[in-house]
Symmetry: D4
Subunit: 254 residues, 8 copies
């Protein structure tokens, strides 16, 4: 609740500048504005460089185009995740600087490229099949104002592959690791770095991988204490959290 605004309203009412009925309504609104986090959030999002995000799954092309048209008016950066190239074609008709990213099936509009991070974010995959999920994470992080290093195909069965990238990993502020199958890579990376590791299980694998469950359980049970986990294939979530971790932060001044 914005106490300054409330004090102002009280004074205005006391001095007769505001009818009681108007004061009632405005205090009530103030109250809902106060709870009404989302709208405040929208402006804050734009100010801080948070992209607007549309989850494309289950939406029609027309819906997506309509939503993007409106979003692009108030936000410089927009992401559409889990969509398809046909939709991209229609989006580009109305937003000519939209980009298509094939691997993660993602549309991006990126006009604000200001760097807002403390350091680089490394995104690592165990195998080449994990790249679509990892790219979703990487593009999200970039769009939120971060510098991203990509390290593809560094799975634990050839341990030298990830060891060779130790310098890059150890100079990152946060590391995202996408892995399917046994999901062991975050544990190894977690042991190499002193920063948070955001682990994304992918649904890559067959047989008893159960669509990512094996990798998910592996990551939740990681013997490295600096590993946290997001949902299976949730590259966007990993990129979002990593961006918040990397964001320069100051205590609220209010």
């Amino acid at each position: 609740m914005d106490l300054k605004e409330l004090a102002r309203l009280l004074e205005a009412h006391k001095h007769g500048e505001l009818e009681t009925s108007d004061a009632l309504e405005r205090i009530k609104n103030l109250h809902f504005e106060d709870i009404g986090f989302a709208r405040v959030d929208h402006s804050r999002a734009a100010r801080l460089g948070f992209p607007e995000v549309v989850f494309g799954g289950g939406k029609t092309r027309a819906q997506i185009v309509g939503i993007v048209e409106r979003l692009v008016q108030r936000s410089p950066n927009v992401l559409v995740t889990r969509t398809d190239e046909g939709t991209f074609g229609e989006v580009r008709n109305v937003v000519t600087d939209a980009e298509w990213h094939e691997a993660p099936k993602l549309i991006r509009i990126r006009r604000d490229k200001k760097d807002r991070g403390l350091g680089p974010i490394a995104v690592v995959t165990a195998g080449t099949s994990d790249i679509p999920v990892a790219e979703e994470a990487a593009l999200t992080a970039e769009t939120m104002g971060n510098t991203v290093s990509r390290i593809w195909d560094a799975g634990v069965a050839g341990i030298h592959r990830v060891l060779a990238e130790r310098n890059l990993l150890q100079s990152s502020r946060v590391v995202i690791v996408a892995a399917g199958m046994e999901g062991a890579l975050p544990s190894v990376v977690g042991g190499l770095v002193g920063v948070p590791v955001v682990a994304v299980p992918t649904s890559i694998g067959y047989g008893a991988s159960f669509g990512g469950v094996a990798a998910l359980l592996g990551m939740l049970n990681s013997c490295a204490s600096n590993v946290t986990v997001v949902n299976i294939d949730n590259g966007f979530g990993a990129g979002f959290v990593a961006s918040l971790i990397n964001r320069r932060w100051e205590p609220p001044t209010e």
Copy 2:
């Protein structure tokens, strides 16, 4: 690999100050020292304020006392998690400033109280039964040099309880949420703040809670994008990750 040290060795060998066999051995050791992350880590840990941690589960009292005695010589701060009061009695015989924390069954030695965090860390629980896990997280974070706010019993069925703490939540650098049963609180908190939320499912609940699985799945599927998850009842892990997120960070200078 420490390139300066390698260059120094090469020069010494070139100038005959070092026999070839000695150079071989020392470069090999250098190599293993380079890979040998753990020992480097120990000194770095002490320098940075990471506590030494002993997982007490499955260890005998004698083992724990022996380990603590040695750790306390090189680290000002030591945690023993998942232990019991009898063990604490024996630890206190040799380390008189050890503290016993009943709720999380945790022994703490804390001699270095320097603040190393950017801002406060909030730790929230859904119910009173989640407090032992949350305390493990809170004590870990404190011992790693953070200021911690505790918000107990703010579950979603009485939504005003968490809303009343919005200011506190919104001024934190990172929020830890411990919840059992349906595990819904991290989603609500995630929607209220713009920082990472580390969610800890607890094994609290009955019937179809399946020892924390319901809460775990709830948190993994959170509709708030800033939520990440650690293992069931893993308060230590949550406190550790939150501390790494909150830590003042600078790119490595090497």
Copy 3:
């Protein structure tokens, strides 16, 4: 068992108005009529405003059209759930006032619009993807004689969205909540109202949502005591139960 009718038959038999063989047959039938709940139910259903319902899944178009033709002769209101628009076309050929509802893929014939409820029923969704299930619930409730308020997209990650509807929720006789992903909304709504909440988990989500299992477990473990649960995606069941709760009830006069 209808004792009056039995007494009447006994008297008729005693007085020779009924042959023993006829009496045997009729008492046997009486008996089966007594157990034979369904046929009694049909007439009672029509009298009370219960719609006839056809589960369309796994039935051929010809079968559905045939069934609807017969049902519409004895019942003013008919629902066909989980069907498709082509089937609707054929139904409309024979029942011209049939309506097609795209979101829930449902055909409705509604000739009896009498209000039979005590108060309004609120139907709430966490996200827009939950609307098809919620619409199935809402249309069922309407067809059973209830006034329905729809509150779409009020998920917990933007808690102000559901709080803004508190008045509407608190003036309802029963609330239906459809949610996928973590399924947390029924707990929040349950804490806001003093009436029963019928929770419908939806199969919306990805990764570890496991086709609605995460939401189902979340709802079963709700910390709000006024929440009950129906099967995943079972909008019809939720609407049916909510209608029974809201129905004006009088003890049977027999």
Copy 4:
């Protein structure tokens, strides 16, 4: 939000009867009181006959006695669930009219016995082993002002047992059914009555009953449309929801 109280405060402030700082504080409190559902709820609970409930599991005897002492001062009816007889002994020392119920391990204080229900609530069990859970439901419903009929041991393998109670079932406003093993009884009861059936799976069974999971799945998949489900062994929840269904309801007048 209590608009009358807000108007009164505004007038008092306008007329100088209230300092601005006091007005700020009281409107803020009013606000929190408005959101602060629980405290309002407490008084409403007492007025409407909701009992105060303490979940005994995981609380010490001293905690339970302390909580009961305070609750009994503002609420005529108090329930303590999942406790033990020793705790009851200590509670009775301070509240002499407390009752002990052995089967559900429940303490009850019941001073307000006013009937608040529309009709009777029937509570049915499949077997004798389900009685503790069913008693928890029955006692909860009684304590919330309902008349309860108990029908024990009416499982489906001897179908005549439940059929013999048809009259009693069909004259109830709502039916609670507790069953373990295959959990089939709610479907049969659901087919016999035209009112809501609240199904409680119990953890009774062995082998592949998996602690109530078989019964839970059976109930969720019931072919009777009037069945809803609560958590395994959650007799209290079933009794609570059934009471809300049976409660005489009027639209809020505000």
Copy 5:
């Protein structure tokens, strides 16, 4: 091992009618013939009226036609399960009296119609969607020489439907029950009869029925002691076992 044949061989060898090398070979073969159950079984199968059975799933049309052609030469009765109508067309080209059964997708050749059962076998379904599985069971039982009564759509939510068929059920030597969803019908039927009930869970259902798992668990946990269970959708297995139960049996005379 056929001891008479062995004695005969020994005598022949003793009297020089058989070379030692031949005796070795034939005793070895005798041994393998003895273990070689399947070939003996083929002749016994034909003699006893067991049909030859081809599991069509995963086989090509040409393979199925080829197999049927050979089987029909030594067995009067042949079943092909889980196939399609196109395959039937090709089979009929070579075996003109082959029949197509649409519901269970089954081809049958039935030339031996001798009755080999003690009494009738009743096959019951809970709903109309369970009929394909039940028909597979019924056709298998008929083809193995049994008289079969079909009772469709007698699910427990309208308990009168199964009660009305009590006489038929109670005069059967064995009852097969196919049910999906909660799988409760075998328990009710089991309580009505004093003979074995073979329960077949079907994959009919949605949401938390998990492709027949809910029904399977319900049946395994049946409170009726005379219920046994076969695999999900395994109508053939149920018909086969029921036929063996119903078969007139005499101790082997060897």
Copy 6:
């Protein structure tokens, strides 16, 4: 419904030998007797040699003794399953010919030893640890009037052990197989015999046997078509079903 008795009542009423009120009551009772399967069952059970069975789990000693005392008055044979030796001591005080069976923890009273089976029943175990479950099955079958052959420790990893008993198996009317771990034995036995095999998974095993789930799944997926399955550790159920299969059967004469 007993039509002869009904005809008799009708005549008596017609001729004034029965008041209308009495006729009403007796026809109503007749009706309930007709549906009232259990009581009819009790007398039929005694006549046919079904034992009375008490599931001892969860009952107090006093309850068990009391129940046994009453049962023994109307039934020559009584079983108490899942009980303990102390209870046996108290039962023997009142029923001196009661027997204690240590392996299955079962009390048996067996006064009627008439053979009611067509042939012998073989009971086979995979290992020695499966004997308690198998003994429960064997004792149940014996008490129901069958001759039982016990074949212990014939698991598939030493296949000669079961092959050596082929003659015994192939001369049985029905075979019960109890196995834990991978539960493979019923498939092998099923291939050796032409009669029904009742498979009982046991909870024997460790690691990924999951308390009998591995064995249960193995048996449900048996490639032998003559295998049916009962619940994990349900020796009683297996013995009961096998007895019904082996019972001499005649069509009801009514």
Copy 7:
């Protein structure tokens, strides 16, 4: 780490043949070469007869053709698993001696046919549907230089089928067993031989086979101590491990 090469570099640097900066770089590379197992592995693979393997799943035709073209230049033997015939057509355009194997959907190039095994490897299947997985294993083993015996369709329900192959099994150095459904065959084979059995669960089955989980659990719980398990349908892995077991081995000489 190659100590000889390191000594050589040190000498060259000492004698000024190598600049310090070059020495630094080359020792660093040497170091990575040392850890860099994969590249070393490639040459070793070719030398030892390990084929190069491409997992075809999820790769485009162009990718596969491109990869095969490059692999075939350094390795005489190449396998492409889980691909399709169209891809084979394109591969054959560039590698004319490529072979297509229909059952396992596998492309093989096999130019080095040297025998590297100690003895034969037997590959056994329970049913004909398991052949594709078994063929993948068999072709892998052959391509790695082993002699392979194929034993198809020897499932346990006709135990004579596997017994008839005892000699062949008992003369093999290692046995691979592929089985779906209940997965019992490895236990039987394990009991017949004194060598390691590599068990491959297949996803063959229906109902409660859960895509190979029943077979997997059966194999993990095998009562034969010489059974180990690979992932569901992982014929390649089974063939690979069996080849390593069968390989002539000598201690490293370094």
Copy 8:
């Protein structure tokens, strides 16, 4: 089947040295001896150095002592797994050279210490808690005639720990890896060596490790092709299989 012995019997019978009835009996026995793998196995076991093994779980002390007494007469080496120290005391009373191994709770008698392996077997654990399982494997392998290297506490979160042991690992003929939690170590080890890796998941872990299931799934989905898996905590099985792999093998000479 021992053809030489059969030929001898035939000759003896032919020459009248053997009555026909005796010949029948002895050929039958010979036959069973032929199938009777176990008894042959016993002598072969002793000759080859296989220990006799008693699974102590679920056996009484008296049973174990009795079995050991008999085994020790025909086998120089005996193992008793999963037993306790009290049992050891009683065993030592009769077999004075029995050894007690505390970590795996195992009794060993080892009189034959001949080396039968091709090379050393390495046994590796991820953590100290995995040692009991690993010791069971190591002691089994030693008792079967192998040289064993133990590498404790080399988990992947400190990757240098396992890398430091590369030489030891790469000179082993087979490697056993025991790991709980995420079970990632076998993948890393598998990538470092060119020999089979036998992975043993342990039940070490908490929360979502589900008693070893997370580790089991991790190992089954290993991205290293040379990894096979045994049951959770099955150290004995791992040691047994590894010994068979390492055994010097020659084709049977029959």
